[in-house]
C-alpha cells in the first residue's frame, strides 16, 4: 500500500478541520487534496473508493447549488476518509467496506435521501463487524446512531436541528451515565458544551461538528466493535484556553485536533507506531510531556540538527554526496524517533516529511538544490523553532502549545515527494530568515556539550559516539580541584626540599610536578571547543543572504579547528553573524556586474579564519569587496558630529569610525543592514570578552575585520597590590599607568580631595586603605604607589601601599550569598600560596570612594 495515499488521506483529514464553509480557500484546498487522492487511488483499482472520493469532491464544489448543508458534506467526506483509512491501514478489504453509495442519486436527489445515503455506510459497515450486538443492551447505540443522523442536518450553531442534536446528545449522556466510562461522558459533555457555546468561545462550526462526529465514532467503536475505553482517546476542543488568544487557539485547536484525530484513527505512518503513543499524543492543544523525556529530546535534537545543517550545506555544493545524504537522513530519522518518544507529534511529523524528502534524494529522484534546498533549510529552522519552544516551555514550566506552524512545510514536502509540484514553482513559506539569528540568542543558554568539542570530523557517526556530555558544574569543579592540586604540589615539593637538604629522591617530586602540570593543561583544555560550529553557522548566513540579495558569494573557512573557551564561543556568535552580514551587504560590490567591471570574479569570496597568535586568538572576517570608502566615512562622521571637520585623521582612525555609536554609511536601511545592531554593539560585545576589534581596508581590494580574543575568560592578567596587610588584584586591562608620586606632584582640594599631577593634568586619587576601611592613619603618599585607571574619558587614581607583581589568575565568583556585601569586588582568585586574593572591580571601587567621601 503506497504511503502516498495514506499521506493524502491524512492531509485531507487535517484540512477538513480547517474548512468551515463552502467556497473558502480551505475548501478549495481540500478539494484539490481529494482530487489528488482519487488519482492515486485510481492506480490501485478500488473503483468504489475512487467514486466515493470523487463524490466528495463534487459535493464540496457543488454542494450549495444542490441544496446540501455544509455539515452534511463535511460529514460525508469525513466518513469516506475514515472508511479509506480502515482499508489502508487496518487492512480491511475494500469489498467489505461500503462507501457512501448511489452516486447518481446523491447529486440528483433532495436532501433527506442524501442523509440516508451518507448514514448508510455507518450502519451497514457497523453491522458487518463480527461482534456488533453484544453491548447493545443499553439504548445508547440508538442514540449514537440518531445523533450521527442528526449531525448531517445541522448547518449552523443556531438552528432547530442543532437543538434537536443537543437533545439527542443529552439523552445519550443519560444512558452513558449508567455505567460508561467518565471519559466517554466527559467527551459527550464537551460536545454539548461546544454546540451551545462554540461561537462565544471562538470555535468554528466545522470544528465543533468535526469533534462531535469524532466523539460519536469513538463511541461507536466502543459500543459496536467492542473496543475498550482504554484504547480510545476522545477528542477535545480546549474550552479553557479560549480567553487568552482567540485566533491562535482556533488555529492551534484545529491542528492539535487533527493530530489527535490522526492518532485516534491510528492512521499516520504505519512504521513509526507504538500503540502506547495514542494515549498522550492526542490530549489537546496544551501539551505537558514528561520533562525527562523532553530534556532528552532537546539534547538529542539539538545535536542532530547541528549536524544536519552542516550536511545540508555540503549537499548544496555537492548534491550527490552519499555520505552527507545518509548522515542528514539519519539525523532527521533520529530527531523523528526522539520526538516520537517525547510524544511531540508535530515535530515528529515534520521530521518524517523531511526524511521522506531525503529518501527521495537518496534514490536520485530529487536534487536538493535551490528551491528544494531552501525548503529543506526552512523546514530545518522550523524544527529548530519547535525545539526551542519545547526548551522554553520546559525552562519556564509553561505548557507547550501546539500551533499549526510548520504544517505548510509538511504540505509542501508531501507535494514534492508525490511529484505533484514542480520545484520551480515552489515558494518557500517565509518566517525563517530571522531564525538563524534568533536561534543564536536563545540557544547559547542551553545545555553545554563539552563532549562535542572532541570531534573534529563531523560527518561520521563513529566519532560522534566517542564524545561524552559533561555537566558544566562538574567540569568547573574538576578544574578547581586540579588548580588546588597544583598549589598543594608546589607546597609539598618545597617542604620536601627543605627537609632533605640533599637533592636525593627528588625524582618522585619532579614526577609529581610533571603530572600535575599536565593535568592542569588538560583541565584548561576541557572547556575549549573548536570554532567549527560557529563558522558553519556563518556559512548558512552567507548562503541565505547571497540568495536574498542576489549577490553570489562564497564563504571560505580557515582554521575551523581552532579552539576557544566555550563561554567565549557562546558570546561570539552574535558579533560574527553580524560582521558576516555586513560583509555580504556592504562589503561586497552591489552587483556581480560591478565586480566583473573591477576585474574580479563574479562570485565574491568571504573568508573567516581563526588562529592563535601571541597568547591570543584572532578571528578575522575578510571580504574581497570594494573596501571602506574613506571620504564617505569622514563626511558622514562630520555630519554626525562625531569628529571635527578640521581634524586630521590617519587611515586607521578613519576605519575605526565605523565603530562609533549610531554610525552607518548604508544609503538606505535594508532589511539586512537595518537590524539595529551596529558595529558599536559588536565592539562592545567583543570588549566585554576582554578582546578588541580592528579594521584594515584597502579600497577596491577588500576589508578585513579582525577580532582579538583572550584564550579563555577564566583567566585574567592582574596586578597584585598590597594594602595594609591585604593583597588585592587589579585587572591589568583597566590600568593605564602606575607611578610613585613625588611631593611636588601632589595637591589637595579643601584639604581633603587629593590630586596628583600627571603630564600636566590633575588627577584625583583615592586611598584604597581608606576606601576599604583597612587603616585609619594616612601613610605618606610618597612612599606609596598610585595606580592610574581610565574611566570613560577621564583618569582616576587608586593609592596602594605596594605593587607586588603581575600575575595571571583564575577568576572565581564569590557566590550569591556575598553579592550584597562585596561591593567593589569582582571576584576572587586563589593565589599561588593557596590563599585568596580579591579581584577589584575598579569602577565600583571608585564609585564607592566618591560615595564615602560624600558621606563624610
Amino acid at each position: 500500500m503506497s504511503n502516498h495515499t495514506i499521506d493524502s488521506i491524512d492531509l485531507a483529514v487535517l484540512k477538513l478541520m480547517e474548512v468551515d464553509d463552502f467556497h473558502t480557500p480551505e475548501a478549495d484546498e481540500l478539494a484539490s487534496i481529494l482530487t489528488e487522492l482519487s488519482n492515486s487511488l485510481n492506480t490501485e483499482e478500488t473503483p468504489a473508493a475512487v467514486e466515493a472520493v470523487q463524490r466528495c469532491v463534487h459535493s464540496l464544489k457543488h454542494g450549495p447549488e444542490e441544496k446540501m448543508a455544509f455539515g452534511q458534506v463535511i460529514q460525508a467526506i469525513s466518513q469516506t476518509l475514515t472508511n479509506l483509512q480502515d482499508i489502508k491501514q487496518h487492512g480491511k478489504s475494500s469489498v467489505s467496506t461500503t462507501f457512501p453509495q448511489k452516486p447518481a442519486a446523491e447529486t440528483a436527489q433532495p436532501t433527506p435521501s442524501m442523509d440516508c445515503d451518507v448514514c448508510e455506510p455507518v450502519t451497514e459497515q457497523d453491522f458487518m463487524q463480527p461482534a456488533p450486538v453484544n453491548s447493545g443492551s443499553d439504548n445508547s447505540i440508538d442514540y449514537i446512531d440518531q445523533a450521527v443522523l442528526k449531525l448531517m442536518e445541522v448547518d449552523t450553531f443556531d438552528s432547530p436541528e442543532t437543538d434537536e442534536l443537543t437533545d439527542i446528545l443529552n439523552d445519550l449522556l443519560g444512558t452513558l451515565k449508567k455505567g460508561s466510562s467518565p471519559e466517554a461522558i466527559g467527551a459527550v459533555e464537551r460536545c454539548l458544551h461546544n454546540l451551545r457555546h462554540g461561537p462565544e468561545e471562538g470555535y468554528s462550526f466545522g470544528q465543533v461538528i468535526q469533534t462531535t462526529s469524532q466523539t460519536l465514532s469513538c463511541l461507536q467503536d466502543v459500543k459496536l466493535h467492542g473496543k475498550s475505553y482504554n484504547e480510545i482517546q476522545f477528542p477535545e476542543l480546549t474550552a479553557d484556553e479560549v480567553e487568552t488568544d482567540q485566533t491562535s487557539i482556533q488555529e492551534s485547536a484545529g491542528y492539535a485536533e487533527a493530530m489527535a484525530l490522526a492518532e485516534v484513527l491510528n492512521t499516520t505512518d504505519p512504521g513509526a507506531h507504538a500503540p502506547s503513543r495514542r494515549e498522550d499524543a492526542q490530549q489537546d492543544v496544551l501539551f505537558n510531556g514528561d520533562p525527562d523525556m523532553l530534556g532528552l529530546f532537546i539534547e538529542d535534537a539539538t545535536e542532530h540538527l547541528e549536524h544536519v545543517e552542516a550536511d545540508l550545506l555540503t549537499l548544496e555544493q555537492n548534491p550527490h554526496n552519499p555520505e552527507a545524504l545518509d548522515s542528514a537522513f539519519r539525523s532527521f530519522h533520529s530527531v523523528k524517533g526522539s520526538a516520537g518518544f517525547a510524544q511531540l507529534v508535530p515535530i515528529e511529523k515534520i521530521a518524517h516529511a523531511m526524511e521522506e524528502m531525503l529518501d527521495m534524494a537518496r534514490d536520485g529522484k530529487l536534487t536538493l538544490q535551490n528551491q528544494a534546498m531552501d525548503l529543506t533549510l526552512a523546514t530545518l529552522d522550523c524544527i529548530r523553532m519547535w525545539v526551542r519552544r519545547v526548551q522554553t516551555s520546559l525552562d519556564e514550566g509553561t505548557p507547550l502549545i501546539f500551533t499549526s506552524e510548520g504544517k505548510e512545510y509538511i504540505t509542501q514536502i508531501r507535494a514534492i515527494v508525490s511529484g505533484e509540484v514542480d520545484l520551480k514553482s515552489l515558494s518557500v513559506p517565509k518566517q525563517t530568515s530571522t531564525a538563524v539569528v534568533e536561534e543564536e540568542t536563545t540557544s547559547s543558554g542551553s545545555s553545554v556539550s563539552a563532549g562535542s568539542s572532541v570531534e573534529t570530523e563531523s560527518s561520521s557517526q563513529a566519532s560522534r559516539s566517542e564524545a561524552v556530555r559533561v555537566d558544566r558544574h562538574r567540569l568547573d569543579e574538576l578544574i578547581d580541584l586540579i588548580g588546588e592540586l597544583v598549589i598543594t604540589e608546589s607546597m609539598v615539593t618545597a617542604e620536601v626540599h627543605q627537609l632533605q637538604n640533599h637533592h636525593q629522591d627528588t625524582t618522585t617530586c619532579s614526577q609529581l610536578r610533571k603530572i600535575t602540570r599536565e593535568l592542569q593543561e588538560l583541565s584548561l583544555s576541557l572547556r575549549m571547543m573548536p570554532i567549527h560550529g560557529l563558522f558553519q553557522k556563518a556559512k548558512r548566513v552567507v548562503r541565505d543572504l547571497s540568495r536574498k540579495l542576489n549577490k553570489p558569494a562564497e564563504l571560505v573557512i580557515e582554521g575551523a579547528e581552532t579552539e576557544l573557551d566555550k563561554s567565549i564561543l557562546d558570546e561570539l556568535s552574535d558579533p560574527i553573524v553580524h560582521l558576516i552580514r555586513n560583509s555580504v551587504d556592504h562589503g561586497i560590490e552591489a552587483t556581480p556586474e560591478d565586480r566583473v567591471k573591477a576585474g574580479k570574479p563574479r562570485t565574491a569570496e568571504i573568508t573567516v579564519r581563526a588562529f592563535h597568535k601571541g597568547g591570543n586568538i584572532y578571528v578575522e572576517i575578510e571580504d574581497d569587496g570594494r573596501g571602506l570608502n574613506r571620504e564617505k566615512l569622514v563626511s558622514r562622521a562630520i555630519e554626525r558630529g562625531i569628529i571635527n571637520p578640521n581634524q586630521e585623521l590617519t587611515n586607521d582612525e578613519i576605519h575605526q569610525l565605523i565603530f562609533a555609536p549610531g554610525f552607518s554609511t548604508a544609503e538606505q536601511v535594508t532589511e539586512v543592514s537595518g537590524r539595529g545592531v551596529g558595529m558599536d554593539v559588536v565592539r562592545r560585545n567583543i570588549e566585554a570578552l576582554r578582546g578588541s576589534v580592528h579594521v584594515t581596508s584597502t579600497p577596491g581590494v577588500g576589508t578585513i575585520i579582525s577580532l582579538r580574543l583572550p584564550l579563555t575568560l577564566a583567566i585574567i592578567d592582574g596586578m597584585v597590590v598590597r594594602v595594609a596587610d591585604q593583597r588585592y588584584i587589579i585587572p591589568t586591562l583597566s590600568i593605564v599607568h602606575q607611578m610613585h608620586p613625588q611631593q611636588e606632584m601632589l595637591s589637595t582640594v579643601h584639604g581633603r580631595g587629593e590630586m596628583v599631577a600627571v603630564r600636566g593634568q590633575n588627577v584625583p586619587f583615592h586611598r584604597l586603605a581608606q576606601v576599604f576601611g583597612l587603616s585609619k592613619e594616612k601613610k605618606p603618599t610618597c612612599e606609596s604607589t598610585i595606580i592610574l585607571i581610565e574611566e570613560k574619558d577621564r583618569l582616576a587614581g587608586l593609592l596602594v601601599d605596594e605593587v607586588i607583581g603581575q600575575q595571571q589568575v583564575v577568576i572565581k565568583s564569590l557566590g550569591t550569598t556575598l553579592s550584597e556585601v562585596s561591593v567593589g569586588i569582582a571576584g576572587a582568585a586563589v593565589m599561588p600560596d593557596g590563599e585568596i586574593g580579591l579581584i577589584l572591580d575598579v569602577h565600583s571601587v571608585l564609585e564607592l570612594a566618591r560615595g564615602s567621601r560624600n558621606l563624610k
Binding site: 580541584l481 557566590g815 556575598l818 550584597e820 556585601v821 564615602s852 558621606l855 563624610k856
Partner: protein, 179 residues
C-alpha cells in the same frame, strides 16, 4: 542533595507553625562562649581547622571573610558576631564547620566559625522544646528549638536561616562604620 534538603525545608516550616515533630535526629554540637549549640548533621559537610580567612572590605562584622576550600571560595560567618556574643582570642581548638544548604535549587556552602566542636548527639523529639519566650532582645529566628541532653541545654540552630540571613546583610558604608 535534593532528597536530604526536602525534609529540612519542611522542618523549617514546621518550626514556624509550632510543630516540633520532625526535629529529632543527629546534631553536631559545638561550643560558643558559654553556650552549647547544635546543627543538624545532615547539613554539615565537613569540619576544618581554622585557616587564613580573607576579609571582604566593608562587609558586616558577622562575615569573617572567604576561605579557599580546595579551590572553591566559601564565605565564613563569625557566629559569635552574628549572635552578638563577646569576641574572644583565637584558640587552637577553634574550627570552621562547613555547612551546605540548598537554596533556589542551588547548593550553597558556608563556613561557620565556632570556638570548638563537641560531639554528635542523637536527640529524640521528646527532648526538644520550642525556643522559650525570652523577650524582644533575643533573636529567635535562627533557633530551631532547645534540646535537653543530660544536664545541659543545647540551642539547636536553623542552618537554613543562618545562611539566608547572610544574603540579606547590608553593606556597611565606610565612614558610618567606626572600627
Amino acid at each position: 542533595m535534593t532528597t536530604c534538603a526536602t525534609p529540612s525545608v519542611e522542618d523549617a516550616r514546621n518550626t514556624k507553625s509550632g510543630s516540633q515533630r520532625n526535629l529529632a535526629g543527629k546534631y553536631l554540637t559545638f561550643q560558643l562562649a558559654e553556650e552549647q549549640f547544635g546543627l543538624q548533621i545532615l547539613k554539615v559537610r565537613e569540619i576544618i581547622g581554622v585557616m587564613k580567612v580573607t576579609p571582604i572590605p566593608n562587609s558586616p562584622k558577622s562575615i569573617r571573610g572567604v576561605i579557599n576550600l580546595r579551590g572553591k571560595i566559601v564565605p565564613v560567618m563569625d557566629l559569635r558576631a552574628k549572635l552578638e556574643l563577646p569576641t574572644a582570642e583565637s584558640d587552637r581548638k577553634n574550627c570552621i564547620i562547613v555547612t551546605e544548604v540548598e537554596r533556589d535549587g542551588e547548593s550553597i556552602e558556608m563556613g561557620i566559625l565556632v570556638d570548638s566542636v563537641c560531639e554528635v548527639l542523637d536527640i529524640p523529639s521528646g527532648e526538644i522544646e520550642p525556643p522559650p519566650a525570652l523577650g524582644d532582645d533575643v533573636d529567635k529566628t535562627l533557633i530551631l528549638g532547645m534540646a535537653k541532653a543530660g544536664k545541659d541545654v543545647k540551642i539547636l540552630l536553623d542552618v537554613d536561616q543562618v545562611v539566608a540571613s547572610m544574603g540579606t546583610l547590608k553593606l556597611t558604608v565606610p565612614g558610618s562604620d567606626k572600627k
